[in-house]
């Protein structure tokens, strides 16, 4: 019964993702690529939401797990014949093994999960600014290691010749998987306990909740989701260490906060809204028309407009587009009387 009442909360995000996927098939292939990218962003932001939204602790480190997932899936799915050319210093056990698309994604999630668990064991003792800076440190260390460690990846080069299997269908399915995982976690006992610690840490402790253990569980699970998202990402386009670093950290956090950090609905809406704006401006830089107006923006305006819009939204609507509330059918007009 409880689950049945909560199902609309899942319905909204899934419907939105499906709609984006279907819309992507209706447009040209080059425009469809923007939709695929947006759906991968949804997966990353949902992973971020799972920890940040439920715990209320900012993490700058989640892109490390995206990077780790991308590296896992990427290294393992480059065809064996291409490996010596782009990754000459690769460790032997990685050089001799190649796996398929689905297994590479599963392994990406697994490695993301394990890394997040190892990182969380010490780090979840921290909170506030100390936690923020420590997770930032994790991002710096991951970036630094992946950039120079050529035994586990391409180092400074890009991940060329990874099979580009992330099309619209795989991206949409991946995003839906992450949303379902985040939903199930949020409705579970653990999700509720963690949100209790977010709302009032002292009261939560007083009733016997271990803040450390709840944060540890959420961080580990969100690491798995981020790893999966990284796997999807590396199958979409040839990544370098720079594509999974500060810019992505910043833009995904902004998507989460712009959408409304405390709800799954907010994470999905924020990711799709900012991606839509960003993609539209990217197309407009190449010249397009809207309602008969010819729009041809100078190159580089895209990032400036996106930055300005995000700053404006944060100032004008700090609780996010959704106000941090979950999707409800009631908001579509089916009003229910409040008791």
């Amino acid at each position: 019964m409880r689950i049945a009442r909560a199902l609309p909360e899942l319905l909204g995000p899934v419907a939105l993702i499906a709609a984006a996927g279907l819309l992507g098939t209706a447009v040209s292939v080059s425009t469809g690529a923007y939709f695929t990218n947006a759906l991968v962003n949804v997966a990353i932001v949902v992973g971020l939401y799972l920890f940040v939204g439920n715990s209320g602790v900012l993490s700058f480190g989640h892109i490390s797990f995206v990077a780790v997932g991308a590296w896992t899936a990427g290294v393992l799915s480059v065809p064996a014949s291409d490996k010596p050319a782009i990754m000459p210093n690769l460790a032997h056990f990685l050089r001799d093994r190649t796996v398929g698309n689905v297994s590479s994604l599963a392994l990406a999630a697994l490695v993301g999960c394990v890394c997040a668990f190892v990182v969380a064991l010490p780090l979840m003792r921290l909170s506030g600014l100390a936690a923020g800076i420590a997770t930032f440190g994790v991002l710096e260390i991951t970036h630094n290691l992946l950039r120079y460690e050529e035994r586990i990846g391409p180092g400074l080069n890009s991940f060329s010749s990874v099979p580009e299997t992330t099309g619209l269908r795989q991206a949409a399915l991946g995003a839906i998987v992450t949303v379902v995982v985040a939903f199930a976690y949020g409705r579970s006992r653990f999700g509720r306990l963690l949100r209790a610690t977010r709302e009032d840490p002292a009261a939560a402790r007083a009733v016997g909740i271990s803040v450390y253990r709840q944060r540890l569980i959420a961080f580990t699970l969100s690491g798995a989701v981020a790893g999966l998202a990284g796997g999807l990402y590396v199958h979409l386009l040839p990544l370098t260490t720079e594509s999974v670093y500060l810019d992505l950290t910043f833009i995904t956090l902004a998507m989460l906060v712009v959408g409304g950090a405390t709800s799954l609905w907010g994470a999905v809406v924020g990711a799709l809204a900012i991606s839509a704006l960003d993609s539209y401006l990217a197309i407009a830089e190449n010249g397009t028309s809207l309602f008969g107006w010819n729009i041809d923006l100078p190159a580089g305006t895209r990032v400036i407009v996106v930055g300005a819009v995000m700053a404006l939204l944060l100032i004008l609507r700090p609780s996010g587009l959704t106000g941090g509330r979950e999707f409800r059918l009631a908001s579509l007009g089916v009003r229910r009387r409040t008791p």
């Binding site: 900012l58 010490p122 780090l123 003792r125 921290l126 909170s127 506030g128 600014l129 100390a130 923020g132 800076i133 420590a134 930032f136 440190g137 994790v138 710096e140 260390i141 970036h143 630094n144 290691l145 120079y148 610690t197 840490p201 002292a202 402790r205 803040v211 500060l246 810019d247 910043f250 833009i251 956090l253 902004a254 906060v257 950090a261 580089g300 305006t301 990032v303 400036i304 930055g307 300005a308 995000m310 700053a311 944060l314 100032i315 004008l316 700090p318």
Partner: protein, 302 residues
């Protein structure tokens, strides 16, 4: 290195560490002053420094005299700081720390991309003060003049700030506001004046840092001072964000550590310098979450 502990390289590395530590200490003060009154971590601080550095580069391109270039740098940074306060910090006052931090992220991103559009990815060169990079020889050891200047400038700036905070009434107001803003307002401290002063001071420090960093590395690119800001933020939290002296010490120590490590590590390991640095930061935070120089009695928050 056969001469051992007190070799020539040792002293040069030490001087470089002190110079970088001093610059980072100034950045830490700039970030800490605003945090004190607004509880806002200004991630866009590095972009203020970047703007000042571009002002210096433009001045040297137009062949302006050095003093005019420095004046332009101060003017540009201060105008930008005040604009940032009016347009971003003020509407955000009292919001949750996450929203404020992400908003300053957005501002940083915005400013960096404006610089990218305006000046291009290759950047410009500021040559006006590069004569300070020449060494002076002190008992057989070559030390860059810049290291001495950086330490001296930092000491003077910090002493002036100390006089302002300890000996004037507005300084007293500022200290009161950073202890407890609401109570300070009830006692008649004017919030806007205190905040504006803190923001202005933080801008002045950014301008000083811009001048010094361009001497150290004259090539000014849109991501100028970005990495430094991240390291300084780590240092400030490491020292203890809530009080100015620990924050400054934190900034100094991380700059000193990074300067010394950069000189001392063998070349095949120096590319892993950020890893060593941030691993150390994480370790210290785990042992002393409230900051390295925080009072022991400070209550631990959940």
């Amino acid at each position: 290195m056969t001469l051992g502990f007190l070799s020539v390289t040792f002293w040069q590395t030490l001087a470089d560490g002190l110079a970088l530590g001093s610059i980072y200490a100034l950045m830490a003060v700039g970030i800490g002053l605003v945090f004190g009154v607004l509880r806002l971590v200004n991630f866009a601080y590095g972009q203020l420094v970047m703007a000042g550095a571009f002002a210096l580069a433009l001045a040297s391109q137009w062949n302006w005299p050095v003093w005019a270039g420095i004046a332009l740098c101060f003017a540009a940074v201060l105008v930008l700081t005040l604009l940032m306060d009016r347009l971003v910090f003020r509407p955000l006052r009292g919001r949750s720390p996450a929203v404020m931090l992400v908003a300053t992220f957005a501002v940083a991103f915005l400013l960096q991309n404006i610089a990218l559009l305006w000046f291009g990815p290759l950047g410009k060169i500021a040559v006006s003060l590069s004569s300070l990079n020449r060494p002076v020889t002190i008992s057989g050891v070559d030390i860059r003049k810049f290291a001495i200047v950086a330490v001296a400038v930092t000491i003077v700036c910090l002493l002036l700030l100390n006089v302002l905070l300890e000996r004037t009434s507005i300084g007293l107001h500022m200290r009161a506001a950073s202890m407890d803003f609401d109570t300070a307002r009830l006692l008649g401290v004017r919030a806007n004046r205190v905040i504006e002063l803190a923001v202005l001071l933080s801008g002045m420090f950014a301008a000083v840092v811009a001048v010094m960093l361009t001497i150290q590395s004259p090539l000014v690119t849109p991501d100028f001072a970005l990495d430094d800001t991240i390291v300084v933020l780590a240092g400030v939290v490491l020292g203890g964000m809530n009080r100015p002296i620990p924050a400054t010490l934190g900034g100094f120590s991380i700059g000193f550590a990074s300067g010394v490590l950069g000189g001392a590590l063998p070349t095949n390991q120096s590319e892993y310098l950020p890893s060593f640095l941030f691993a150390a930061v994480i370790l210290v935070l785990l042992v002393r979450p409230g900051g390295l120089f925080a009072r022991k009695s400070a209550a631990e928050r959940v």
